[in-house]
């Protein structure tokens, strides 16, 4: 069945991006609406997808498969690169997250009024590449989307960013490019080791494949090839498979981000305009986690099991390091950026557990962090739009004059610090639960991980108290600008707040979708 539903998720924004680029400058006002219409269409697409998705069916659904490139590699072999898209539970959850977040970010982009043409065409390009990343079932296709995402992001931070944008955007692109280079090494190695039996007999030449379904089946490994399991080949004294797993782990870890490869994140967040921060925290970081499950764990399960402890420790360090750093921040956006690092540490903790609870928790945590961090960045954006300032100390007693804002901030902050009944709690609970269950991980790691929740409670509540309680006070120049939320902001924060609540109370909505995928990973 080739419904074209998934392809439309990529093609619609791409076409719209071109259309905006070619429209003359006199249609300036319409760019944002074109973009918004596309995002709404994507939401409708998503609704159809969710409606037709069969949760109990493991494996990819809505597959679309087209032959693309048969790259003749010398005289004896062929690289088979196909356009294959499909979704399973994991990708569906991520696609849903990105479509929602991009919709919200598009509304938030209405406040951008500089070079709209370039902005919206880049924004739509980013939409297409990010969604493409989540639905690609071919490593090559995935990698193209993964790489191509960098450029729109570079320009979106570089042109519309804050005062230090040049530094931040360059740091972002170099960090992520180094990461993607490592992934490219693995991609080449994997492709050169996995053979598509069917086409090999058809073409009478060795056909190397990038298809995820072929790569994840270790029966396809070529004997004597670099990544074969029986006779390990050593690279610098390390088994090739271990080596590749570590490369993948660092490559996606940079994106996640994990300590010590996180330093691009605070810079990029602080300089990026609000909608781009929302997308960056809400969706782009998830690609790191998604890639780890889809590629690192799915293709190297035999190796991954040995690295549970290491990954848990790095996760723990990320949680604590991010938390302590957040404590020390004076800039609201920087605080949120470090809290992101801390919360993504839980994802690593869940991966490190290497059991079903841990993985479910990690995926749930990614989803919930997508919603919550987007909310937090929108909140920082609300203040920044009004005052051009984000210093926590400059605001006191905002609850008095911005009551609706305060309610929504409460939801976001308490969600982030893991209050039960909000989505943040479920993710953190299950990752810690999984970590306690795991045999390979000593109990002290999840115990210290709980400390991360305490830390986030400290910095978030502290900030909340400083900014919203007590007598109202700000610098004089901000006094008149501070008005309560307008309808647009209520809409954005409201949608995210309701979703947070929904997934906090009924986590099964998500678990039912992702569980078959996770079970298949271990089965």
């Amino acid at each position: 069945m080739q419904s074209g539903l998934l392809s439309s998720l990529i093609i619609l924004p791409l076409i719209a991006s071109m259309v905006i680029l070619l429209l003359p400058e006199s249609y300036k006002g319409s760019y944002r609406w074109i973009s918004l219409i596309v995002q709404v269409l994507l939401l409708i697409d998503l609704g159809t997808l969710i409606g037709a998705f069969e949760p109990n069916h493991s494996g990819y659904q809505f597959l679309e498969h087209f032959e693309w490139i048969r790259l003749t590699l010398g005289k004896t072999s062929i690289l088979s690169i196909d356009y294959i898209v499909g979704i399973d539970g994991l990708s569906l959850s991520m696609v849903a997250l990105s479509v929602i977040i991009f919709f919200i970010a598009n509304i938030s982009s209405f406040s951008i009024n500089k070079k709209e043409k370039a902005y919206y065409s880049l924004f739509l390009l980013l939409t297409a590449t990010v969604i493409g990343c989540f639905i690609a079932v071919d490593f090559f296709l995935f990698f193209i989307f993964f790489e191509f995402m960098l450029l729109p992001m570079y320009f979106l931070i570089g042109i519309w960013g804050g005062p230090n944008k040049a530094y931040a955007s360059l740091k972002f692109i170099i960090y992520t490019l180094v990461g993607s280079v490592m992934i490219l090494v693995v991609m080449i190695a994997l492709a050169m080791s996995n053979v598509d039996e069917f086409f090999t007999s058809e073409y009478k030449r060795t056909v190397f494949s990038f298809d995820f379904r072929i790569l994840s089946d270790q029966a396809n490994l070529l004997k004597g090839s670099l990544l074969n399991i029986e006779t390990p080949i050593k690279i610098f004294g390390v088994n090739a498979r271990d080596f590749m797993f570590i490369l993948l782990f660092i490559g996606f870890g940079i994106k996640l981000p994990m300590v010590p490869f996180h330093t691009w994140l605070p810079d990029a967040h602080v300089e990026a305009p609000t909608p781009i921060s929302v997308v960056l925290a809400g969706v782009l970081l998830k690609i790191g986690g998604y890639g780890l499950i889809r590629i690192a764990y799915d293709f190297f399960p035999d190796v991954a099991i040995h690295y549970g402890l290491l990954i848990s420790i790095i996760g723990l360090i990320s949680i604590l390091y991010g938390g302590f750093n957040a404590l020390a921040q004076k800039d609201l956006k920087k605080l949120i950026a470090y809290s992101s690092i801390s919360h993504m540490g839980f994802v690593l903790l869940g991966f490190g557990a290497f059991n079903i609870e841990g993985f479910n928790g990690a995926i749930f945590q990614m989803f919930s962090h997508g919603l919550l961090s987007s909310m937090l960045f929108l909140i920082a954006g609300v203040l920044y739009d009004r005052t051009k300032n984000r210093e926590i100390d400059n605001f006191k007693g905002l609850a008095k004059i911005m009551p609706i804002f305060t309610v929504l901030v409460t939801v976001a902050f308490f969600g982030s610090l893991g209050l039960p009944s909000l989505s943040g709690f479920i993710g953190e609970f299950f990752t810690l639960f999984g970590s306690f269950q795991a045999n390979t991980v000593p109990k002290v790691i999840p115990i210290l991980g709980v400390l991360g929740i305490v830390l986030s409670a400290i910095y978030l509540l502290w900030t909340f108290q400083k900014m919203f309680f007590g007598e109202f006070w700000t610098k004089d120049e901000f006094q008149n600008n501070l008005t309560d939320l307008n309808q647009k902001e209520i809409l954005m924060l409201g949608i995210l707040g309701i979703l947070t609540l929904l997934f906090g109370i009924f986590p099964n909505i998500l678990f039912d979708v992702i569980n078959p995928t996770v079970i298949q990973l271990f089965g």
Binding site: L71, T72, G74, K75, E147, I159, V185, L226, I233
Partner: protein, 481 residues
Amino acid sequence: MKELQEILSSSQHILPEWILLLGILLIVIIVSFQKKDSKWPYRFSFLLVLIYTFSATYFYENLPAGGLKLYGGLLLVDQTSLFFKQLVAISTIVFLIHSRLFDYKFDGEIYFLMLCILLGLSFLSMTTHFLVIYVALELVSISSYVLVATKNEKMNFEAAIKYLIFGATSSAIMLYGISLFYGMGHTLNFAEPAFIQAIAANTPLIIQIISFLFLAGLLFKIAAAPFHSWVPDVYEVTSTPIISFLSFAPKAVGVLVVARVVQSNFADLNAVLLLIIFLSLIIGNLAALWQTNLKRMLGYSGIAQAGFILIGVLKSPQTDFYGAFFYILTYLPITMGAFLLADLLKNLSGSDEMEDFKGLGQQNIFLGLNAVIIMMALVGLPPTVGFMAKLMVFSSIVNLGEAMHSSVYYGLLIFGLLNAAISIYYYLKVPYFMLIKKSYNQPKYNNDFFLTLVLTYFSISLVIFFLYPDFGTEWVRKVLF
């Protein structure tokens, strides 16, 4: 009498080169009888290159497998040589179009020199004979020295002298290597079994050292380290169309000759080549990081790109140089497009300094877009064909590592890719200044719609070539040794 017979019969087999040679002589006559600013040398050379390209394409269509040995082994005409001749001829055509588009008022002699280089490269591409290699290389080199010196500016003389001194030194070293080889092998054709047998009696280390000496002249043409020091100065001062040609054509054919040397398998050159690759990548990339002048930066980037191309020439049991040849095929539109961009930007801003490109992309968004695509192709990012080329070269390393059981190759893989990642810093400077930085002064010239269109043609072809590489891959597959 028998020799004479063979010379006569061989001469029939290189008809296209005869046509080219006669045409070149005719150009000399045309130049001497026409006024200084006559358009005829240009028109005639354009026609001549076209005729040469088509006649070579049809004439060499049906060659026996393994090629045709002419003049008692002096020349070896095969599909591979045809492929490189076509590439060089196409790049000559691009040069001619480029110089026309930007209204370069070249003297007639320039066209004569360009065609001499074309002739030299044609012979260089179809030989495994030391002597022919040397003579053809000298024809190319001497013409290039003069080309660099033709602009009457002080900087040009300095660059040309530098070029000459380094070039002469490398040819001298090469000649030294050749004479040693002759002493050991008693024959000048390195593809002959007799030569390989005679050479095999010596210790491998000595052969490697002599091979390195011999390669010096070729590496100079390829612009690979440690024979790269002429590159930045020459690139900076030479007219852009000329340097656009020189950055591609001699490099391509130089790689072919290195590939032929590797293919003939008289020595294990991998150690030597690895050293050259590591040096080229690191020197080219690190030096390019600090450049502020676009043409100088492209010069250093050319050194790094030479390193990437040479990766494809490393020898393994199943080597077929597929990666290197495909890389060269893609390098033609990429590098010549980049120089076209450089010229256009110079026209608009009045200088080659990247700082002066501020805001150019904002005024004309398509120009900015073109710059992004061409620079992405140089980095090797999808969706441009630069990515495909890098993918081919790097997948050949994985094959190599599997076959040779050596970690060095995986080290090279990671090192090369990290270099590619670093290179984004300097390549992105161009779009960075064009699109992100604000300009404070108006551009000196109006945007030229037509030139942007030509550039767009280049960048679109880079993307289309990425989406449908089959045409290129099949072409390259046919011409492998």
